[in-house]
Every structure is written in structure tokens, then in C-alpha cells.
């Protein structure tokens, strides 16, 4: 039994020390500490690690952290949505997003040609430049063959980028497949559509990619799911691990609650029904903003793994 401990600050406190304290403070801090432990367990078990995230996390500065985690070998398979991939490409080409506030005059922003994602802001010009970046990439691919599975297309694009902090770049470099079941849900969709109008045999093959995610891990491999936010990214990773026998480890971080019956709010409680999770210490559901929670718990895990010379 763990007792609640009176927490106290000591000078020059490290993130890892704080995490260790979180385990005996209470409420979500306990879940966060367990998330750190599950990250360490996944890695030690040599599990195939699925990382899923929503687009707004790539809008945020977590983008560089995701790229770093790929480089460090902490991620084997990625599932995400189109918007984040677009913004990863924009940033790889030099786009700078601004930190604003949640309470702004949206009409005024619109007049200034600025798009808002929560308290972050993206200038329209970056969407213009995105088109210029993307079209040659697509043309190159089409010149090679007319029909592309989504993850092959994304790997090809990643290979055409050159930015250490880019998710697509690091994923291509380290053979980490990126799956995006709703590839057309964004500016990407619009440009792919315009391209197809001129090249009727151009096909983005989402069906084939279902096979690719299925075969990206096997029935007898251990699997771990890290789902940041909800939406279809989370659903797709859970679905494909389930078809491969279920994950043994899972960490969900979200602000959504289970009480509405949504996928975004689904907890790791259900993961126990997959038959692979051995006990409660193999899963963690952390309620809270991912931009704060994920770096915290993952840094704790990285420090621990480094300490044990496993990273």
C-alpha cells in the first residue's frame, strides 16, 4: 500500500524527482506517475509502441518532442490526422506559429488573415506556401506510380523534407510508418483532389493501408498504445492492435470524460477486456491537457531509461 506523502519542494528540483513525488500526492498526479511507469514498462518489454495524437498537438510545440521520440526509438507506429501532417510540413519549410490567447476577436483575426487553434495562431500565408511545397512532392510520387497507399505516400513526403524537428522527416528516416485514415480531411484533401482532376488515374489507397497497419505488428509481439487526445487516431490504433490480439500496455491522455460514451473519453479500464493486460499497473488514463501532461510523464520515463542505460 502506498501512503499519501506530504510533498515538499527542494531547490533545483528535477522533473524526474517531481514525478516520483506525484505517485504519493493523489488524484490525477497518481495517474500521471503511473503513465510514466507504463512508458518505461513498454520500452523494457520491447513492445511495438503505437503513438496517436490529434492535429492540434502538432500545432503546438509537442511536434519537436514527437520527432525527438521517434529519433530516440520510443515510437514504432504513428496514427494521426491530416491537419497535423500539413502543419508539420509547413513548419519544416520555416513557418512560425504564434502564441496568442483563447479570448480574442475572431472577426479581427479573420481580417488579418490569421487562423486560430485554441490560443495558437496560424497565418493564412503558410497555407499558401504549403500548396507550393506539396505539389512537386505529389508530382514526384505520381511520376513514379499512380496509386499510393497513405503510409507510403507519407514516407515519401518525409523523405523529401530536411528538418530534424519534423515528424514526417524523422519517421521516414527511422522507418516508423505514419497512418492517417482520414488523409483527405484538410488542405491536403483539397490539393490531392485538384491533382486528381488533372490525373484521373491518381489514387490514394486507404484500403491498402489498412493492411499495412495490420501487418506493422504481429500477433505474438507485445504492443503498447499511447493515445494523446481522442478522435479516429486513437480509435484506429486500438482497432488495429485488437485485430492483432490486443495491446499489453496502454496510456491514454485526454480532457474528454467517459460519461458521454465517446472514443475520446474511453479509458484504459476497457483495455483489461483485451485479455493481454496483466494488471492495473500496465495501463493509465490521465485526465488533463496533453501539452502539460505528456512531456511531464515522458520526460520522467526518458530519465529513468537513461539512468538504467536502456536509452
Amino acid at each position: 500500500m502506498v501512503y499519501v506523502q506530504d510533498f515538499k519542494w527542494t531547490e533545483n528540483m528535477k522533473v524526474k524527482d517531481l514525478l516520483d513525488n506525484y505517485g504519493s500526492i493523489g488524484f490525477q498526479s497518481v495517474e500521471l506517475k503511473r503513465a510514466m511507469d507504463v512508458f518505461v514498462k513498454m520500452k523494457k518489454a520491447n513492445a511495438k509502441i503505437y503513438l496517436t495524437f490529434t492535429s492540434n498537438m502538432v500545432t503546438s510545440g509537442l511536434r519537436g518532442f514527437f520527432a525527438q521520440l521517434i529519433k530516440l526509438g520510443m515510437v514504432d507506429i504513428i496514427v494521426t490526422t491530416a491537419g497535423g501532417l500539413e502543419e508539420d510540413i509547413m513548419k519544416a519549410k520555416g513557418a512560425k506559429f504564434d502564441v496568442g490567447t483563447f479570448d480574442v476577436d475572431d472577426v479581427e483575426l479573420h481580417e488579418q488573415g490569421i487562423n486560430r487553434v485554441g490560443n495558437l495562431q496560424i497565418k493564412n500565408e503558410f497555407y499558401m506556401q504549403f500548396e507550393d511545397t506539396l505539389l512537386p512532392f505529389i508530382q514526384n510520387m505520381y511520376d513514379e506510380k499512380p496509386r499510393w497507399a497513405v503510409s507510403d505516400m507519407l514516407k515519401n513526403i518525409g523523405g523529401q523534407l530536411d528538418d530534424e524537428d519534423s515528424i514526417l522527416y524523422q519517421a521516414a528516416k527511422h522507418d516508423v510508418p505514419i497512418f492517417c485514415p482520414a488523409i483527405t480531411d484538410g488542405a491536403l484533401g483539397f490539393h490531392l483532389y485538384l491533382f486528381q482532376q488533372k490525373n484521373k488515374d491518381f489514387v490514394v489507397d486507404v484500403v491498402k493501408d489498412f493492411g499495412n497497419i495490420l501487418t506493422s505488428s504481429s500477433l505474438d509481439e507485445e504492443k503498447g498504445v499511447i493515445a494523446l487526445g481522442g478522435s479516429i487516431s486513437k480509435h484506429h490504433a486500438i482497432l488495429s492492435t485488437l485485430l492483432n490480439g490486443g495491446a499489453s500496455y496502454a496510456v491514454y491522455m485526454t480532457t474528454a470524460q467517459k460519461t458521454s460514451g465517446s472514443m475520446s473519453g474511453a479509458t484504459t479500464q476497457e483495455a483489461k477486456s483485451w485479455g493481454k493486460v496483466k494488471d492495473v499497473s500496465d495501463v493509465a488514463t490521465v485526465l488533463g491537457d496533453v501539452t502539460i501532461m505528456f512531456p511531464l510523464a515522458m520526460i520522467g520515463a526518458l530519465e529513468q531509461l537513461r539512468e538504467e542505460k536502456l536509452l
Copy 2:
């Protein structure tokens, strides 16, 4: 200026009466009343109405209501995810889902072959039967041609069903296109993949469907968006109306909050920046569970339209 009014019950109270009272109670009740008003406005303005919902709402009994709304002419375009379409087909073929509770023993459920979506339960056997239902549909389509845009495929499937309460059936019957940008994110994806393994030239064309949703309304038509829950369904409807000049009316209902910067939590406040919304009375964001909120506000609107002989 509207004053807060002391609410009082009167015997045999109608839903419409309660809605009218909500406008002067306060907090979310005021937003809900405005949602009803915006529904009425959309219809009176003859706007193209985009309805988006997440899969769990089809798991719930809202499915029959969505089908009824299509039949009543309250919906022109639908955007949703794969899971809901699958369950619509299951139910059209006789599947019965159970009402359970949120706090259950998931391991036990698993042993009984039951899947849980919040407090609702789906027996595994319905997924088995789904395969049997789906394969002839796909074969029929493939026999006609090997390449299908998603919305064409869904219309074809709807035409092969026979259930008044089915979304796919009513949508096919009333020429309401259903868009599903992540068509492979579900059992559907698995079956399409297996089919493609045997028929290599079988293509589900998501890129072409981007064109279909774009041309499903025009720049000079008035547009309204009803987004129930978040995820890519909401995003896709907003994106496609924006590319057509923006919607003039919008109602978002969700349990997600804007403070995490997610699409699910994005409010209609931003809709003002689209340049088409005339004033605050044209949009409403209601925080709360859709299974309660949507019937309430929509019934209010239907009664009002019926009263004015517009339905």
C-alpha cells in the same frame, strides 16, 4: 434585453413550452433555446444543412431520429465516421443493442462476447453477421465497377437496405449524400481490405469524394452546420463549407471544452470570423450530452416549423 424569468411547471407540459422557458432560465439552457432558434432559421433560410455526428450517437437511439430528420427534409448533407455506418447496417438487419451501465466489469463482458460503448453494449455476434451482410453489397458494387467514391458507395449500400429507421436507407432514398473521410476506420476497413486482397483493382476513392462534398453546395447558397460531438466529422463539414464561402448558421453540441484547443471543443464563436454569420443569434454552442440536448432543441424546432406550416 431578456430578463431571467422564474420557471414554473404547468401540467401536461410540452417539450416546446419547456424550450421557450429555457430562453429565460440561464447558463446552458439559454444556449439550448438559441440552438432551437438557429435550427428554425436555417430551415426558413432554405440553407443547405450539414449534419455531422460521431459513431456513438448511432450506437444510441439517436439513429432513428437522424433517419426521421432526413425523411422530414431537415438534413441535406451528412458527415460521419465508419463505426456509426456499420452499426446502422447492423441495426437495419435486426441487431438489438443493450442499455447497461458505465461501471461494469470489462473482463467479464469480454468473456461474454460483449463490446461496450459507454453504457451501451453490442454483442460480438452482430459483427459476425455484419460481415455476411456487407460482402454481397461490396461484390455487387465491384461487379458494376472497380472504383468507388465513398459517398457513392454509401448511397449504393443504402439502396440495398430496407429499414425506415436506417440513416443509410433514408439518405439513399432522399438523395442526401453521406461523407465519411475515414471510411476504413472500423470493421468496414477490414472487410474492404480483405476484398481488395482478392480484387487488386478495387479502389475506394477518398480523393474523388473531396470533390463530391465540395460540389454538394455552392458558393452562393446559404449553408448551415449542425455538429454533434467533434472529431473529423465536425472538421470535415466546417472545412468544406469554408471552401464554399462559409456557413451562415451553425450549432455545435459537445461535451468537449475549448480550453484544450481541440476541434471537438471549438465553439461557434469562431464562426463569426467566416464573414457570413450576421449576428450572434445565428450560432449556438451547447455544452452537454448530445443524447439529451439534440432531441430537445430539435423537437422544439420541428414543433415550431410544423406550427408555421413549414414542415
Copy 3:
């Protein structure tokens, strides 16, 4: 077992019909229907019914509904906070609050002498008038005796009001005690303090009132708790019923979630540990805005009781 049923609108739909449908839709709608059923059960069991609510619900139009419920005999004991009692008095003296919006310029409101509670607005002048109303009431009480238990003081004030829609008025008239463990947390506190400065022996006895709430029900009476929102009002009602052996029925309605370990988010799940709750159908926790949820479920219960000639 209850099956999920396809919901459909029928013309002139009554609130009660909608509630009956909610039981087979799913997610929170099922909880809401159960809340209605528990209200009916409490009444049929002749339980002592504790109603608790936060101040902002009196700011809203629920005030008149609470007064009506007292009149109808649906409430035996009330626990609330100071702000709501102040506003009940203001409204009894003619104050009108305005319905505004959540997104406003607070600096501008301040300059106009307006206070904001969510999307509702209270003019400063009503606080001025409140002082004029309150002082003679206190003077009258003090002339009678210098030391007052809180609930006795509130009953005395209620007796000095004359407004059918007032909670204090109806409670005084129907011998429903109102408990307010934080009586000084508001303008009330300020005025009581100024009065005491001039009359040093004036005492508001919160300790004595603990005895009053304890003896307001007995160990062998059945008890029911309806907690709207959280805070100390909810805590105080649960505490005092627990000291009397625990409630047999409980309905909690709140937007707070249990994941932060707060009283506001505590669910009726715990109520099972009181040893009095017989089964899951005796308690309900509904997540959502009380201004929408409470009238809905309670109207359903009132219609049902009226139908059965129990009201």
C-alpha cells in the same frame, strides 16, 4: 434488459413522453430518465427530501421552480449558500436580472455597474437595495433576541417576505428549514458584520444549526438527497443524512467529474456504501448543466406523480 430504441419525434410531444424515450436512447439520457424515476421513488417512499443547490441556480430562473417544488411538497429540507439567499430576497423585492452572453467585455460591464454570473447579469443597484431590505429584518430579529441559529434567522426573513416565487417565502410558509453553513459568505456577511459592530451581543449561531439539521430527520425515516451542483451545500446534506444513518435515495446533477476527487464531482456510486441504498435503481448521477437537466427530470416526475394522483 432494456434495448436501445430508435427515437422518433411525434407531433405535440410532451416532456414526459421525451423522458420515457430517454431511458432507451443511451449515455446521459439514460441517467436522466433514472433521475426522474428516483424522484418518483423518493416521494412514494415518503422519504424526507433534502434539496441542495449552489447560488448561481438562484441567479437563474430555477428559483421559481424551487419555490414551486416546496409548495408542492416535493422538498423537506434545503441546504444552500449565502449568495442564492441574497438574490432570492432581491428578486422578492422586484429585482430583474438580465440574460446576456458568456463572452463579454468585463471591463465595460464593470463601468456600467453590472455584475456577471456566467451569461447572467446583476445590476449593482440591486445590492444597494438589498441592504435597505435586509437591515430592518435583522433589527426586528435582534429586537426579539440577540442570538439566532441560521435556519431560524432564514425562516424569520422568509416570513417577512411576500412573493409566491420566493424560496425563503415558500420555505417559511411550509415549514421547510433552510440550512446555510456558510451564511457569512456574501453581502449578507458584510451586513451582519456591520450590525454586530453596533450590537456586540448579536450572534449568528452556526453551531446550534448543526443540531437543527441533525434533528430535522430521524434515524428511522427514509431519506433522499437531491444535490444540484456541488460545493458545501452538497457536502452538508450528505454529512447530515449520514449521521442519521444514510439516505436511501440520491440524485446528483453536476458538470464536475469525479476524476479530480472533489465533492462537486463525487457520484452516487459512493452512496451504495451508506448501506441504505437497496440497488442501482435508487440512485442517479447526471452529468450536465442543471438549468437544463433538473427541470426535465423533475417535470417528468411531477407528471408521473400527478398521473398516479400522488401530487
Copy 4:
């Protein structure tokens, strides 16, 4: 303008480094960084700092941190509820609370004589011991005089404890008054009531304490409010600073949202209407679990102040 920066881990990362990074990640991380900055500003401005927290935070390990902050001179005035004070006393006398989980069998816990607060657990025996601890304290006070203002009573109790990690002890030692407007809402209330039954002239004077909190800062002093969670503690601190001209600095941390119009969810946006807040950099509202958020932001501030030799 601050740009979004790609976040990257560096080995042996300190909490302060992470906080500095949070300022350019996005969403709630930006708010958290601002909270840290506002803590530093409050201290540098020599403001009177009001700290408010709910009972469950004392159940958690934050108790020791609050005591440490008093000792470090980071807190001038405390407002809280009865439950937390009780648990502070229990812990000072050796009680150990357990870390459990959110999903437990409450009936079983009840049979074992265990009370649950979220995922923390308190044995009934500590409530028994509490009675033994408290009674001599009350008797001592009563022997001195029969009538006690709440904050005087709490200071007296603190003076009778001997535990470095106790909030009451450190507050008494450092002349930090503790206000508790709902002093009877807990076991405390029950014991005070029993004592009064035997000593009729025993009075706990809540009205007098309203004067004490009013005079604990003056109109021309700068004031800062740190509100952790909501409820009447938050309301009481805001009320009393407003009566003294308003605070210049405010940090609210909560899981409640403003959309329900509750005090718990009220944001620092409103603080701008107090007329004292100079600009947006003087206030911060952080959405999230306090057990994670508060140590993070406050450690950042303590490190910063130590670095600048201001602590």
C-alpha cells in the same frame, strides 16, 4: 509576439526548465507558465497573498507543500473548508491516508471501515482519534473565553499542534490567519455542537470573522489571489479582496469550466473588471488537476525567486 517552439527533452531536465518551455508549447501549458510568472509578480510586488483550497487537497499530499509555502512566506491569508482542517489535524497526530484507485467497490470499502475521497482512502479510526484530539483543544479555548471568532479558534488549535508539515501549525507560527466561513460543515461541526450542548454559552462567531478577513489587508495594499479549486473558499477570498478594492494579481486553477456559471468555473477574465489588474499578464486561469498543476507552477516560481535571491 511569442512563437510556438518545438519542445525537446535534455537530460537531467529541471522543473524550472520545463516551465520555461511550457510558455511556447501551447494551450494550457502557456497558461501554466503564466501562472508561474504571476506567482513571481505577486511576491515581487509584495502583495498580500490569499491562498484558497478545497478539502480534498489536504487529503492529498499538497498539505505539506501548503505548510512549506507558509513557512517560506509565500502565503499571507488562507481560506478553506472544514474537512481539510480536520484532516490536517489528523495527519499532525500521525494519521496515514492510503493511495487507492478511482474504480473500487464502495460497499466493500464501507465494510472495511474506509472512507474514499477520489482515489485516496481514509480509515474511520482516524475520525475516532480526531474526536479525542479535538475535545481538549476546545475545552482549553472555552476555559479561556466562551466566544471565539473562527480564525482565532484555528490559530489557537494550530498553536496546540506540533508538526512542521501541518498547515494549522505553520499558519499559527507565522501569523497567517486561516478563514473558514463554513466551519461547521464537517466532523468539526458535530463536535462543536456536542460541546455547545453541554456549554450553552459557547459561541463560534462567524460574523466577527468577516471583520477579521476584511481587516487582514487594507485598501491601499496590493493583493493577490491564488484559488485552487472552487467552492466558497474561492468565493470568500474574492469577495473580501473586492471589498478592499480588488486584487491586482490572480491565479485560478480548477477542473471546472465557466460554461455552467458556477463560482468554481469562474475565470480570471472577470478579474479585469476589478479595475486593479493592469494587464493580461497579471492573471492566469489554468484548467487542470491541481495536484499536478500547482506544484509545477509554484516550483517554477520558487526556483525563480531563489535565483533572484528574493526567497
